[in-house]
C-alpha cells in the first residue's frame, strides 16, 4: 500500500464527486481581518465545500455546521481541533484533556470542569465582577479617551479571572498571549502559527508553573479542580492540565468578547441607547454580540470513521473546518437581517460557544464578565465613539480587535 499523503499533518483527501471545490485560503490574513465576504461565499457554495489549499472540508451553513460540530461520534476532537491529526504526528503541545478528547475520557474531565464553572459558582463571583467593573469604568470615563483593547477588554478579565481561579501570579501580556497562541496553533503552518509557537515556547513554562497547586489559593476555581484530584476523580497531573485549560480558553476569549461588544456599540449607537433605556436587555445583547462577531470563528473536527456530511461521503481521517462565524451570520437561520446587530434578537442556538458535549464549559463566567462590564458602562457612559481606526488582529481561530481607540462620553 502506498504511504498516505499528508498535508498539514493530516490525511490529504480526494474530494467526493460533486462536492463544490473552492480554491481559497481561509487562513489568509486579509480574510481573517475581514471575514464576512468569505463567510457569505462559503455558505453560498454549499453545505460542505472542499478546500484544496489545505485538503480539508469546510462548512458554513448553520444547519450543517451545527450538525457536524455536535456529532462527536462521527467527528471527533481527540485527533486535534486544528489541522494536525494527532493520530499521525506528535501534537505541538501535550493535548488538552478536555478540548482534545472524546468520551468516555471527556465525560470525566468535563464533569470536573463543569462543576467548577457552574452557574452556582459564578453567582459567588458576580459581586466581585460588578465592583471591579464599576471602579475600572469610573477610571476610564474620567480618562475620556481610551485604547479599549488594552485598557478595558484585556484589563477587566485580567483583574477578575486570575483571582477567581486563585492565581497568585498575574501577567497581563503573558495571559492574553497564551490564549492567542493556542488558538493560532489551530491553523496551518502559516506565519501566524509559527509566531505563536515561538511565543509559546517563551511563555509556556510560566503558564505551567502558574498552574501548580502551590501557586494557587485554596478558595478559587483552581482549588476546586485540585480537590477532585484528592478524591481520585482525576489524577494530580490532570488537575494541572485542567487549570491550564482555564488559562488558554478563559482569558483571550473573554478579552475578545468584551472588545467586540464595545466595537458593536460604537458602530451601532442606536443599540447602545436601547440598552441604556432598558438595562434588562444586557443578557440578550451579550448573545447578539457573540452571534454577530463570533469571537471563536473556526474550529476543526476529524472524521473518526467513514461517514457523510450533507449526503457526501466523508472518509476517515478527513479534517473538517466548522466555520462558526459563517453559521452565526447565516440568513437561512437568522433571517434576512442576519448581518444586522440587534440587541433584542435573542439568538438562541448561536454557535459562538460551540454546541453539544464540547460546548464552552466557561460560558457562564464569560457571560458574567461581559454583563458586569456592559452594565457598568451603560450606567456611566452616554455614548461610545470611535476615536481612530479599529483594525482587527488576524488569528487562525479568534476574531479579535488589535486596537480600539474610543471616546467615552459620560452620562
Amino acid at each position: 500500500m502506498r504511504d498516505m499523503e499528508l498535508i498539514e499533518g493530516h490525511r490529504a483527501i480526494t474530494p467526493p464527486e460533486g462536492m463544490p471545490v473552492w480554491d481559497v485560503d481561509p487562513f489568509d490574513t486579509d480574510i481573517l481581518r475581514d471575514p464576512e465576504a468569505y463567510y457569505g461565499e462559503l455558505r453560498a457554495r454549499g453545505p460542505v465545500v472542499y478546500i484544496p489549499r489545505w485538503s480539508v472540508l469546510a462548512c458554513g451553513q448553520y444547519e450543517t455546521t451545527r450538525t457536524v460540530f455536535s456529532d462527536h461520534e462521527n467527528f471527533v476532537s481527540s485527533r486535534g481541533v486544528g489541522l494536525n491529526d494527532f493520530h499521525l504526528g506528535e501534537p505541538w503541545r501535550p493535548p488538552s484533556i478536555i478540548l482534545e478528547v472524546d468520551p468516555p475520557e471527556h465525560t470525566r474531565t468535563r464533569r470536573v470542569m463543569s462543576r467548577a464553572l457552574s452557574p452556582k459558582v459564578v453567582k459567588t463571583l458576580v459581586a466581585m465582577f460588578a465592583e471591579t467593573a464599576e471602579r475600572l469604568v469610573e477610571e476610564l470615563v474620567a480618562q475620556h479617551r481610551i485604547e479599549a483593547v488594552e485598557d478595558l477588554a484585556e484589563r477587566f478579565p485580567i483583574s477578575v479571572f486570575p483571582p477567581a481561579v486563585g492565581m497568585r501570579d498575574v501577567d497581563q501580556r503573558i495571559l492574553v498571549d497564551y490564549g492567542a497562541c493556542v488558538f493560532n496553533a489551530m491553523g496551518p503552518d502559516n506565519a501566524l502559527r509559527r509566531a505563536a509557537l515561538a511565543r509559546n515556547a517563551q511563555i509556556a513554562p510560566w503558564i505551567m508553573a502558574a498552574c501548580a497547586r502551590e501557586r494557587l489559593t485554596e478558595d478559587g476555581i483552581g482549588a476546586m479542580i485540585y480537590a477532585d484530584a484528592d478524591t481520585g476523580e482525576i489524577a494530580a497531573d490532570e488537575a494541572s492540565l485542567l487549570v491550564r485549560s482555564l488559562l488558554s480558553a478563559g482569558v483571550d476569549t473573554t478579552v475578545t468578547g468584551i472588545g467586540n461588544a464595545l466595537h458593536c456599540f460604537a458602530a451601532n449607537p442606536g443599540e447602545w441607547d436601547r440598552l441604556r433605556a432598558d438595562p434588562s436587555l444586557v443578557r440578550p445583547a451579550i448573545e447578539e454580540v457573540l452571534r454577530y462577531t463570533s469571537p471563536v470563528h473556526t474550529f476543526g473536527r476529524t472524521a473518526g470513521r467513514d461517514s457523510q456530511i450533507a449526503g457526501f461521503p466523508v472518509v476517515e481521517g478527513t479534517k473538517i473546518l466548522c466555520v462558526l462565524g459563517a453559521a452565526n451570520l447565516d440568513p437561512g437561520k437568522w433571517g434576512e437581517d442576519a448581518g444586522c446587530f440587534r440587541i433584542d434578537r435573542r439568538p438562541m442556538g448561536h454557535m459562538a460557544f460551540g454546541a453539544g458535549i464540547h460546548g464552552c464549559v466557561g460560558q457562564n463566567i464569560a457571560r458574567a464578565e461581559m454583563e458586569a462590564v456592559l452594565t457598568a458602562l451603560a450606567r456611566k457612559v452616554a455614548r461610545i465613539e470611535f476615536d481612530g481606526a479599529a483594525p482587527w488582529r488576524p488569528n487562525n481561530a479568534i476574531h479579535a480587535l488589535d486596537k480600539l481607540p474610543l471616546k467615552l462620553i459620560p452620562a
Binding site: 464533569r111 463543569s114 457552574s118 460546548g359 464549559v361 460560558q363
Partner: protein
C-alpha cells in the same frame, strides 16, 4: 409527531407538536414558551431549562445522568426527584403525549 404538553407554574397548559429527535427544550423554545430560558442552547451548562416530568411519565423519560445532576444543583427552584434539564430529554414516538411541569423561575 409526538405531542407535548407544558404546564406552567400558574397552571397554563400549552400543547405543542414536536419533531422526533428534538429535545423538550428545543420544542419549548421553538414554541415561544417563556418558562424555558435555555441560555446555553443545550450544552448542559446553565440549568435554565429545568422542568418536572409528570409522575405518569417518569418511567418513560428515563433518569438523569450524573452530569445533569451536578448542573441541577445550580437550578434556582427546588430540585425534586422528577427534575430534569429539558435539553436532555430527546423525544421519541414513545413519548407522544408527554406532560412536563415548569418551575416558577429559571434565573
Amino acid at each position: 409527531m409526538p405531542r407535548l404538553t407544558f404546564v406552567e407554574h400558574d397552571g397554563t397548559e400549552t400543547t405543542l407538536e414536536a419533531a422526533t429527535g428534538d429535545s423538550v427544550m428545543e420544542t419549548a423554545v421553538a414554541g415561544g414558551l417563556d418558562g424555558i430560558v435555555a441560555e446555553c442552547g443545550g450544552s448542559m451548562m446553565c440549568a435554565t431549562c429545568h422542568c418536572y416530568v409528570d409522575d405518569a411519565w417518569i418511567e418513560r423519560t428515563g433518569t438523569r445522568s450524573e452530569s445533569e445532576d451536578d448542573m441541577l444543583e445550580s437550578a434556582v427552584c427546588e430540585v425534586r426527584p422528577t427534575s430534569r434539564l429539558s435539553c436532555q430529554i430527546v423525544l421519541t414516538p414513545e413519548l407522544d403525549g408527554l406532560v412536563v411541569h415548569l418551575p416558577e423561575a429559571q434565573v
